[in-house]
């Protein structure tokens, strides 16, 4: 198995790209994009992570097995985030109908 050696030029280019994206992150943080603020911040972060994984971690020139392992790791991250969000995003639906909830006189945390 031969090891692919990246020319030093590639590392410098990627480093500069990461720095540029970092500046973009800081700039974007001070702008008001409304609902798009989070997607934009996450999008830049994903772009940076992708560059690191592909070039600095040499996944671009690795075997199919290595790529599968990396993809598997991200799939599991998606499972963690996705199913956790399936709880948070559905808290308001399927609440028991008002008739089923018992009146509570003890002071406690208020229900929404």
């Amino acid at each position: 198995m031969s090891v692919h050696v990246e020319p030093i030029r590639v590392y410098i280019t990627i480093f500069l790209a990461l720095m540029g994206l970092t500046v973009l992150t800081v700039w974007a943080a001070f702008q008001d994009f409304g609902v798009m603020s989070n997607p934009i911040a996450l999008g830049i972060a994903i772009a940076k992570a992708t560059l690191v994984v592909l070039f600095f971690m040499h996944v671009r020139h690795s075997t199919g097995m290595t790529k599968l392992v990396v993809a598997g790791g991200f799939l599991w991250l998606l499972i963690l985030f996705g199913i956790t969000l399936s709880d948070y995003q559905t808290r308001d639906i399927l609440d028991p109908p008002a008739a089923m909830t018992m009146p509570v006189d003890v002071p406690g945390p208020a229900h929404h």
Binding site: M65, I79, L80, T84, S86, D87, T90, L94
Partner: protein, 545 residues
């Protein structure tokens, strides 16, 4: 020192083997031999097992009477917390993978060692470092959060050694990750010529599935515990609503690892049982491929069910329903295994050796543990019995009745391979029966207690629960004696037991095709595999058929 009997050497007993290849402490503590590392783990986890057991003794003593008359409530909280932490993170998780897996995996696939021998040794030191941190928490007065570290108790209210214990678990997690990674690479890259995936012993398949969980799940636990420590020390707002966090998020993250962790404990035990059932029925495991894929299915499905721990924690009803259905799906591959083991016994030449007693015990106890698990996956039942002794009984049937029975069965089966010596037959069968009886007497009454409404984690209880609690405490005494007996005769056998032949059970599998105990590099000549696993059918019959 030794008597004449222990000096007798059967035909072909090796002069040189991994145990006498080098001497002195340095040769053990700096070894990269997977077999010696397995023994280092064996010693370490046995110490932790008896430590965790000592906490259990105090818990059962306190619960022998309804009043809280032995220890303070706060002390009791610390006892069950340390019992859980020690037993889960320092005994059950490493038990079969790090001891039997380490010892057997290279032997079973015809390799000289694991893929990364030094990393393997490093994993033991990492484990010990984590263990020392966690024990240090004891000297800081222990901690009272339960092994589950739920917030906000663990972050806001508890003033006990949560951070120290958390760091200990964080560190130990890495030893688990290293073992898992090592095994996956070893299984992929180091199989002997001819040893295709579907010729692998089912123990190897189950170790592979376990390793997947270890490397995919454990980092999440590490991050979760780290976030917990950061919130405690730096007031980072992750879980505390006052700081902008969410306590239920902790439960999501914690159980994302800790539910699959149950399969880190039970899958290797299932692998052991497959080996034992095949050897002592003299038959190929029924539906080999189904059993192999069932391990992988359990590993993957196990990651999709964690929300069944959050049915009453404020999780949405919708998510609860989804998690409920997904949890029930795990029953399918589990049942595939139980049915296939049973089908293997059918018309097999069954013999009743000590390891087989553990295997049969496992099947019965795991079935009870698994079926009560399906009950608990139903929200209607779970909301009724949650946080009662029903839960405690259920998971002890899985972890003690399942995982520990598998571990002990495996230890008895491969002991001649490990030590090159035998243990007393009658005494070992007696101990196996004592353990089975003691186990059921300890934990079956807890199902009834829980169903009647006795909550877990309290040091006192109403008078009407005493009879069942006394039964449970009495059972625990029997169980404790049952565990002491094997420890004593194994320690004796290591030095004084009768030397055995290479393959005392007449078993199939590459691990039996080298000397017992094996040479340092396992095989004088790397074997070539030409037959299916568990090929017990005599050759003449094969040709006639």
């Amino acid at each position: 020192m030794s008597n004449a009997k222990s000096k007798e050497r059967p035909e072909g007993y090796p002069d040189r083997h991994y145990l006498n290849a080098a001497h002195g402490l340095k040769s053990w503590f700096l070894t990269t031999d997977h077999k010696r590392i397995g023994l280092l783990y064996l010693l370490a986890i046995t110490l932790f097992f008896f430590l965790g057991g000592a906490f259990a003794v105090l818990i059962r003593l306190e619960l022998a009477t309804p009043g809280g008359d032995l220890v303070q409530p706060e002390t009791y909280n610390r006892l069950f917390t340390m019992h859980g932490i020690v037993m889960i993170f320092f005994f059950l998780i490493p038990s079969i993978p790090a001891v039997l897996g380490n010892f057997l995996l290279p032997l079973m696939i015809g390799a000289k060692d694991v893929a990364f021998p030094r990393l393997n040794l490093a994993s033991w030191y990492v484990y010990m470092a984590g263990g020392i941190f966690t024990l240090w928490a004891l000297f800081e007065g222990g901690l009272n959060t339960g092994w589950t570290f739920y917030t906000p108790l663990s972050t806001v209210y508890s003033n006990t050694a949560v951070t120290t214990a958390g760091i200990g678990i964080f560190i130990t997690g890495f030893s688990s990750i290293l073992t898992g990674m090592n095994f996956i690479v070893t299984i992929h890259r180091m199989r002997a010529p001819g040893l295709t995936w579907f010729r692998l012993p089912l123990f190897v398949w189950s170790q592979y599935a376990t390793s997947l969980i270890q490397i995919l799940g454990t980092p999440v636990l590490a991050i979760t515990v780290l976030l917990l420590a950061l919130e405690r020390t730096l007031k980072l707002g992750i879980f505390d609503p006052a700081l902008g966090g969410d306590p239920v998020l902790f439960q999501h993250l914690f159980w994302f690892y800790s539910h699959p962790a149950v399969y880190i404990m039970i899958l290797p035990a299932m692998g052991v049982i497959s080996e034992l059932i095949a050897t002592f029925s003299r038959k190929r495991v029924f539906g080999y491929r189904f059993v192999a894929f069932a391990s992988v299915a359990i590993a993957i499905l196990g990651f999709l069910v964690w929300g069944h721990h959050l049915f009453v924690s404020g999780q949405s009803v919708y998510a609860g329903a989804v998690f409920s259905v997904l949890s029930m799906l795990v029953a399918i591959p589990s049942a595939v295994k139980v049915f296939n083991w049973t089908a293997t016994l059918y018309k097999g030449a069954v013999s009743w050796e000590t390891p087989m007693l553990y295997a049969l015990g496992f099947i019965g106890l795991f079935t009870i543990g698994g079926l009560t698990g399906v009950m608990l996956a139903t929200m209607g039942i779970d909301i009724h019995v949650h946080d009662t002794y029903f839960i405690v009984a259920h998971f002890h049937y899985i972890m003690v009745g399942g995982a520990i029975m598998g571990y002990l069965g495996g230890l008895h089966y491969w002991w001649p391979k490990i030590a090159g010596r035998l243990y007393p037959v009658f005494l070992s069968k007696f101990a196996a029966i004592i353990i089975f009886v003691g186990f059921n007497l300890t934990f079956f009454p807890q199902f009834i207690l829980g169903y009647l409404g006795m909550p877990r984690r309290y040091h006192s209880y109403p008078d009407e629960f005493q009879v069942l609690n006394v039964m449970s405490s009495a059972g625990a005494t029997i169980l404790g004696i049952g565990y002491l007996i094997p420890m004593l005769y194994f320690a004796w056998s290591m030095f004084y037991g009768k030397r055995c032949t290479q393959n005392p059970w007449g078993a199939k599998g590459l691990e039996w095709e080298t000397a017992s105990p094996p040479p340092t590099l396992n095989f004088d000549e790397i074997p070539t595999v030409t037959e299916e696993p568990y090929d017990y059918t005599p050759k003449e019959v094969q040709h006639a058929g």
